[in-house]
């Protein structure tokens, strides 16, 4: 009887320490949500103060590049989810392939961000530049917020790629050599998946706020 009640209250593929690991990951994700919500709230407040400047600056951003980047991250969420499914079904090599694909697409996202930033840098629109200082305060605030939020998001993508690389190494090596049992490795994969999906969710909100709302 007690076994059934425990099975009902705990996800079946997780055991004691792994449950706490999963909950810890969710709590960390909540703090990340607080971080980005604070920044997006800052954006919203300044937008209300400088609507015309923000409207103008939104028009200077490349919607097609932003949309492509968003679709890339949505695709990484798909590949990550499929990778996790394969790992849960004990298909290590296939799972590793999809996690590798996620990393590659994440890198492509970073390349696009680099292209977008370098285009703006080429126009002299970077923080504390002489050209930007000649613009209105609202435009200054918009571009600074743009670099801050997209830069912080890009940093999260970099961290996510590093985490996935560590997980990938753990998957590709045999469990006996690394000393990591299969259940723990599965937890690593699932938790890194949770982190990656949060990065995608951040982009889902970031894209319309900076690129679409005029």
């Amino acid at each position: 009887m007690s076994d059934i009640s425990q099975a009902q209250s705990t996800p079946a593929h997780l055991e004691g320490g792994q449950v706490s690991g999963r909950i810890g990951m969710w709590l960390f994700l909540i703090t990340e949500v607080l971080l980005f919500c604070g920044l997006l709230l800052l954006y919203a407040v300044y937008r209300s103060k400088f609507p015309a400047d923000f409207h103008y600056c939104t028009g200077t951003l490349d919607i097609s590049l932003g949309a492509i980047n968003t679709v890339i991250l949505l695709t990484t969420s798909l590949t990550m989810a499929i990778g996790v499914i394969h790992i849960q079904k004990k298909n290590r090599k296939t799972g590793a392939a999809f996690i590798g694909l996620t990393m590659a697409l994440g890198f492509a996202f970073l390349v696009n961000i680099y292209l977008e930033w370098s285009a703006k840098f080429h126009q002299g629109l970077y923080p504390n530049s002489e050209i930007l200082q000649q613009h209105t305060p609202g435009e200054n605030i918009f571009y600074n917020l743009f670099y801050l939020v997209t830069g912080l998001h890009g940093l999260h993508v970099v961290i996510g790629i590093i985490i996935l690389a560590v997980v990938l190494i753990g998957i590709l090596k045999k469990a006996g050599k690394t000393g990591i049992d299969a259940k723990t490795l599965e937890m690593w994969v699932e938790n890194s998946g949770l982190y990656w999906h949060l990065v995608t969710i951040t982009r889902i909100f970031l894209f319309p706020l900076f690129y679409l709302i005029t």
């Binding site: 059934i4 209300s48 969420s77 989810a81 005029t214």
Partner: protein, 110 residues
């Protein structure tokens, strides 16, 4: 006998916690379509005389909210977490939304 029954229940729960491949692909297609919808709405607002005003902003954010729900529900399968934890998470999100709304009420230029 009861042990075998418990093991069968655990295997069923384990399968239930996994999202199927077709579901994942369908969710991805939905996410991409919603992104296209948001772009279309945003493009239609100034050009085609579709003056949605503040509702345009709300519509675009609503689309983003739906996309986030799809990711949380299917890719980060929250449904299979402990009920207590789901409740805590829901309250945290509701509190966050309330704080954001209260802040935005002070800036009605939206």
């Amino acid at each position: 006998m009861s042990k075998i029954g418990t093991e069968k229940e655990e295997i069923k729960k384990e399968d239930a916690s996994m999202v199927s491949f077709s579901t994942a692909i369908l969710v991805w297609m939905g996410l991409v379509i919603l992104t296209g919808l948001a772009i279309t709405m945003a493009a239609a607002i100034p050009k085609d005389g579709l003056n949605l005003g503040h509702w345009g902003v709300i519509a675009v954010i609503l689309v983003a909210g739906i996309q986030s729900y799809l990711v949380v529900r299917f890719f980060m399968p929250i449904n299979h977490e402990d009920r207590v934890f789901k409740t805590i998470l829901s309250w945290a999100v509701c509190f966050l939304i309330a704080v954001m709304l209260y802040t935005l009420v002070d800036f009605p230029a939206w």
